[in-house]
Each structure stands twice: as structure tokens, then as C-alpha cells.
Point group: D2
């Protein structure tokens, strides 16, 4: 089997956005999916393989430098040596804490930063050299680095200081990388997901209106659309929400 021209890596794969994004990008690229435990990625890996795609899961704690380095060492030496990266998606869900401020411990507060900002930093450090290689090799679409944001990326609500601190920091990083690496040909984007996503965990949540939850497959279509934009016309930010969402 000849090596692929390029591959994609999706960090943070559970039953929602991450898996849908992996399935969407797997239509065009072999994908690596990163998650803390095999239970998180086994389903999507098997889905992709049974659809004729190629997917490999690697146990990775995105907020741990050694773990991220080990994952990318495996990728660049064993799995896809000398292969450019077409797309890197950062989508971990950790760091969500909702409680009155005076009850938050320092360790809980740090979880917002560790999961969202530190994780994004480590992931960006590992993927940007491979994305720049994709620019050099003139891949079909500009290599893309896409970060998942949330309502808390632009609004610090009461009781949401932990998650908002992490998500604001992640957005700062996204902007800074877009301004540094955009001119080098890497498309850096930030997607604000504003609402409840329709996943198994939220199945029981009933709303007044039907279709009141975001479709993870439709979110994935937006990521893919961003990936296919030419460098003349890059979007940095897009906000996604159900038609009935209050905002």
C-alpha cells in the first residue's frame, strides 16, 4: 500500500462533534483520532473502517505534554512518516465545571485551562509543523487547524468561570495562531458552538421545539467547509446554533 498524500487528526473524540468530524474527514483522508480511552474512539474507528475509510485511535491525554509527544512520535515515525497533515481539529470537552465561584477549588479552576488552553497549545505545537509541510507540498486544500469553541468562548456567565476561562484562552490562542500562520498558508479557524448538541447524553433533554439541538453531523459539515476554502477567502470564525436558540 502506498503512503497517503496527507492525513487528518482529530483530538477529542466522543459520541458528538469529534466523531462526526472524524467520519466527515475520513471520506477524504486517513484519520487519527485521539482520546483518553479506547472506549471513546473505538466506535468511530470501526464506523469509518466499515465505510471503507481508514482510522486509527491513539490513547492520548491532550493536557499532558509527554502523552501528546508520544502520540505524535508514533504518528510521525510509525504511522505516517514524512506525510503532511491536511487538517488538525481540536475538540476536547474537558474542563466543564458549573458552580458558584466560592465553591470552586484551585484544581477545578485549573481544569478549564488544562483541558482547553494547555491542550490546544500542545496540540498546536505538535500539528503546526506538519501542517506547514502540507503548505510546502501544495495539498489540494490549505492545511487547516480548527478549534471548537462554545458560548463560553465569548461570554463569561455567572457560575461558568472555569469553562469560560479555558474557552476564552483557547480563542485568544486561535486568533494569535490565525494571524501568525495564516500568512504562511495554514487556515486557522475557531467555531463557536452555541447550544445543546444532539448526542446520546442529551437525548432525554426535551425542548419546546423540535430540532432544538445542534446536529453533530451538520457541525462536521461546517468544519469540512472551512477546510475547503481557498487561501484567498479564509473564514476565521463562525457561530453555530439551533434556529430556536436564544442568543
Amino acid at each position: 500500500m502506498s503512503p497517503p498524500k496527507a492525513f487528518a487528526v482529530i483530538a477529542g473524540v466522543g459520541p458528538g462533534t469529534g466523531s462526526s468530524v472524524a467520519r466527515r474527514f475520513a471520506k477524504s483522508y486517513p484519520v487519527i483520532v485521539l482520546a483518553r480511552t479506547p472506549a471513546s474512539y473505538e466506535g468511530v474507528v470501526s464506523d469509518i473502517e466499515s465505510s471503507g475509510g481508514q482510522a486509527i485511535g491513539i490513547n492520548t491525554d491532550l493536557s499532558d505534554e509527554a502523552s501528546v509527544k508520544a502520540a505524535f512520535k508514533k504518528i510521525t515515525t510509525e504511522l505516517f512518516p514524512n506525510t503532511p497533515l491536511a487538517a488538525a481539529i481540536f475538540n476536547p470537552g474537558g474542563g466543564f465545571v458549573r458552580k458558584p465561584f466560592l465553591e470552586i477549588t484551585e484544581k477545578e479552576f485549573a481544569s478549564g485551562y488544562d483541558n482547553q488552553a494547555k491542550g490546544a497549545f500542545l496540540f498546536s505545537k505538535a500539528t503546526l509543523p506538519l501542517l506547514l509541510k502540507g503548505v510546502e507540498e501544495n495539498l489540494e486544500h490549505p492545511p487547516s487547524l480548527i478549534f471548537t469553541g462554545a458560548t463560553a468562548s465569548v461570554r463569561g456567565s455567572a457560575n461558568f468561570s472555569v469553562f469560560a476561562a479555558g474557552k476564552f484562552a483557547l480563542r485568544a490562542l486561535s486568533q494569535s495562531l490565525a494571524r501568525e500562520f495564516g500568512p504562511k498558508g495554514v487556515h486557522v479557524s475557531h467555531v463557536i458552538v452555541d447550544g445543546v448538541i444532539d448526542i446520546p447524553r442529551t437525548k432525554a433533554w426535551k425542548f419546546e421545539h423540535e430540532d432544538a439541538k445542534l446536529s453533530p453531523d451538520a457541525i462536521a459539515d461546517s468544519y469540512w467547509f472551512l477546510h475547503t476554502q481557498p487561501r484567498t477567502t479564509f473564514a476565521f470564525e463562525i457561530d453555530l446554533r439551533p434556529y430556536v436558540e436564544k442568543w
Copy 2:
């Protein structure tokens, strides 16, 4: 010939974004293009027809209530009676004035409002009932009302008060309509075009980097992508700029 299931209307068609959007939407719908003079729309109408599409131009001054009413009377009684509207795009370029504030006349200042905000108001009043009809008839994609913004939609730069006042007002209207008509099933979006568009008028403008101008066809692809989003996952705003643009 049987009547079409739905049609699209694009207001503000010149050699740039408007024509590209018209060509893109004409792949799926008959399109009406509105511009002050036939010289603005004749080229795109003939392009579309020679590609097998259907396009009709109507002379319209978007900032004039009587002119807009006449155009839509023609559309709803002669051209597409009882036909829902799939997409309405507001893209007029008028109202651009760049000069020191104390040299601006009241008439010049009004041109920003008239072309951008008043025009958008009249266009929205005319199209929303037809878009709501599209919701009732359960068209393939949620009926869409898309407004073209600019850098001046989010930044009032020195010497840009006229255009910024018009574009800020247009963005206010877009937000208000998204919040009122989103829950009714109409997808209202606002696209921030941040940079120089690659059109005949800007051909001579040379930049340090190649690909430093926005592609109007790529802008049109973004409008089409917005149009195809399902109602579970609507984007309100997207910003588009060349990879080397400073922002």
C-alpha cells in the same frame, strides 16, 4: 413550462460578489437579479443563461421604496406568482465615502444609511413574507436571507464614518431579524467581507503577496454553504479575508 418550486433573488449585482452569488445560486434556482441599471446585470444574466440556468434582471433602486415595491410586484404577479423564495441576498455596494469628517455633507452621510440600512430594510420587508412561504412549503433547504457586511460593519475607522454608520446599522438589522425569524425557520446570516475583492476595478492593485484579494466565487461558495445548513445548525456570522490580510 411548469413553474419552479422556488427561486432566489440577489440585490446588488455588479462585477464582484453579487454576480458570483447569482451564478452560484442559479445552479439550483431561477434567479432574479436587481441593480440600478441593466449594464450592471446584463453580463451575469447572459452568463447564467448560456450555462443553462434562468436569470432575469430588474432595474431597481434598493434605497427607493416605490422602486423596490414595483420590482417585487412584478416578481410576485408576473414572474413567479405563488412561488416561495428559497434565498434572498442583499449585496448593494453603495454608500462608500472616505473623507475627513468635517468635509462630509449631510447628503453624503445619508448615502451610507440609504444604500445599506434603508435598502436592507426595504429588501427584507419585501422578501421575508416570501421566505416564510418557503418555510411553509418545506423547501429542501431552510429559506435564507443573507446580508453582505464589511470590515466597516464592526469597526468605525477614521474617515469611514459614512460607510461604517450604514454597515453597523445593517448588522443591527441582521441580528434583529435573525432573532425574530430564525425561530420561524428563516436562516438570516451576515457575512463580513474583510479585504479587497478581486474584481476588474481592483485588477491593477498590486500587493506584496499573490492571492491577496478575496475571490468573489469563493465568497459565493460561503453564501451557498450557509444556505444549505439545516435549521438545527444555523450560522449567523462568518468573516472572510485573504490569508495575508492584517486584522
Copy 3:
């Protein structure tokens, strides 16, 4: 009586913010108050005079070019010839319409622009030359041009398109003027008033918490504070709301 060193002008004087601002600035300057009818300004003029200050009301329709020109002709030829302007405050309340979009007439929509943006344009054209004269004459505080904003300056809510279009446009103008005239020594600011103001008209509105309405005198203190900032340290924007306001 020798002519004053400088004076202030407040446009839009009713029972709320405008009158409080006039009283506050009248402690240091003779003030001109502009309103459509004497009923709006007679009370504050008499308040100021009975406190030992100097105040003059002029009937002015801020959205009418001839009316604004007439008022400033009177000011610069009869009342305060050759006198620099220390502060100009734009505070008219007109253009507030709250209704479903499809019920709004073109004339109603224009009222947001006319009262807020066109009025601010005309007022700025009339006052900036007098404020620049204040820079030349090295007044104690940098001459100030302050605009009153609202929640609708930064958010286009459902049913608020008229007022939001006017207030967004006013904010665009404010930013543009701050960037053009700040470096010339004029302090241009925009104050976002986010909440219900405690005035006679809102006396009957009861809230769960006490002190749930903005104090017009405290708003005026913020305007005065902005006016006294040195040019090394200008604030452009400040947002004011009651402690219990949701935002």
C-alpha cells in the same frame, strides 16, 4: 459681565440623563440645552439658574439640518461668540420603536436613523470646530464629545431593529470620530446605558430588587469623569448598568 472661558452644550434634555448631565456640567460651565420644545428644558434651566449657574435653552430638532444650523448660529453669534466649547453631549431619546419587523413602516424605520445617527452627525459637524477651538485655547480639560448609547448599541434584539439600527450607526460614528479627532486633542466617548433609568416615566415600574434602576445623576457623574480625563488616558467606552441587571 465678561464672556466665559468656555461653555457646554447638551442635546436631548428631558427629565432623565440629559437634565442630570446639564446640571452636572453647569457647576463648571454655562450650558446650552437643546430640545424640541421648551417644556423639555424649562425645568432644568430654572434648576440651574436657581443654583447660581447659567443655562439657556434653544428649541432645536436635532434631526433637522436647518434647525441645528440655526441653533449654532445663535450660539456662536449671539450667545457665546468666539468662545470655545468645553463639552458637547449628544443624548436625544428619539427613534425608539419596538414592534414585529413586518409591521414597521419605512418612516418608522427611518426614525431610528434620523434621531440617533443623523442627529449625531449634524451635532458633531456643528460642535467639532468649537471643540477644536477649545484644544487650541488649552482649556483645563480636553474638550469632550460624548454620545449616549444603549443596550441596542451592541445588540440587535428581536423587535428592536429600528432603535438598534440607529444606535449601532451612532456607535460607528463615535468610533470613527474618536479615531480622527482623538489625535487632535478632542476626547470622543460613547457611554452604553444598559438598563432602565430612574425617571418620572419609569417610577411606576417595580422590580424585585431595590435600586434596580440607573440613577441619572450617577450617569452624569460618569460623563463628567470622562470629561476630566487627561489626554494621556482617554476612555472611549464605558458600560453602565444597575447591579442586579441581567447582561
Copy 4:
């Protein structure tokens, strides 16, 4: 000597904003100043005492939980037992790193968070109970918690990812606390300092215009003004810059 009615604490005291704020608040309250080393606070403590005020410095590493706890144990048991806090100002300068992204180490990236967000978290946890005590005791001015922001609080520029991540996270925390503790009577504010501050370290930086640097004393006046606002009329955010600053 009878105990004071209330005191103020300023975290992050060097030769700029922190010292000016301490001097300003010391006109009304005894002040505690926190900094890593006595060299940072000895000057301002002696300034305040020679002006007849009261100031005490405590060596504190704001990003270290044990150090912050020790400082506040000393304050609440030895220095000001049973005394409410009138104002708490968070102003540490650490975490400023400016370099290309791929050269940043994980430790450097963490310094933005540690100094700005973690420090602000620890400081808020320590001060909010004392500020709430000030609400109960109905102090003259609403107890205030004020955070120092920067350009990087609202813009992630190229090469500024470290500082921007920290400052964005700090702003998220500020918003969340304002929304939670505002209704409880604590005035939480965030000040965006946008420009070069006129301190010994920047004395040699020459600009085209005079007065092109922010005055730390004028910044301190803004903090004091925020502190004196009544709860009917709280500002959350204010942006400060020199009149010639580009923004």
C-alpha cells in the same frame, strides 16, 4: 488606635499602575500591597506613609495558592481582623512573553495563565468573602473588585498567544464574577489598558507625539472613580488609551 472601618488591597505593585492605585486608595483607606519582593513595594509604602497614609507590604506570589493563603491569613488575623474590605485590585504584570509560537515552551505558555488567570482566581477567592462583608456592613462605597486588562484582553495578536491567553481568561473570570457578585452588591470591573504606560522602564521610549504614554496616576483615578459608583450605576468595563494611540 481604633481599627479602621475598612481597608484596600492591591495585588501587583511595581513602579506603574499598582503603585499609583495604592497611593490613590490610601487617601481613603489603609492599604495592603502585595508583591513578590520588598523591592517592588517598599517605595510606595514609604511614599504613602510620608503622606500620612497607612500601607503595609506583604511578600506574595499571587500564582501560588499557599503564598496567597498565607498573606490573607496574616491580613485577617493579625493586621485587620474582622474588618471588611472596601476594594481589591488585581494588577500583576507577569506572563508577558512575545515570541513566535513554535519557540514557546509549555512552561512559558503556562506563565500567562499562572500570572493572570490563576492569580486572579486565587486573589478573588481570598477577597470576595471580605468584600461581601463590606456589603453587609454597608460601607460608604460598594465594595469593589477591579482587574487590570490590556490590549491582549480582547485581541490575540501574532506572537502574543501567551499573554493573550492569560488576559482573555482573566476577562472571562471578571465577567463571570461581575454577573455572580454584582447582584450581591460587589462591584466587579475590568479595565482595558491599551498602550504604553509612562513608567521608569519606558522613559527612554520616544514617540512622535508628546503625551503618548498613559499616566499611571490617571489610570488610578479611573479605578477610584469606578470604586465610587453607586450600585444603581455600575460600570463593568472601561478602555483607556493615549489620545494618539492607534486602535
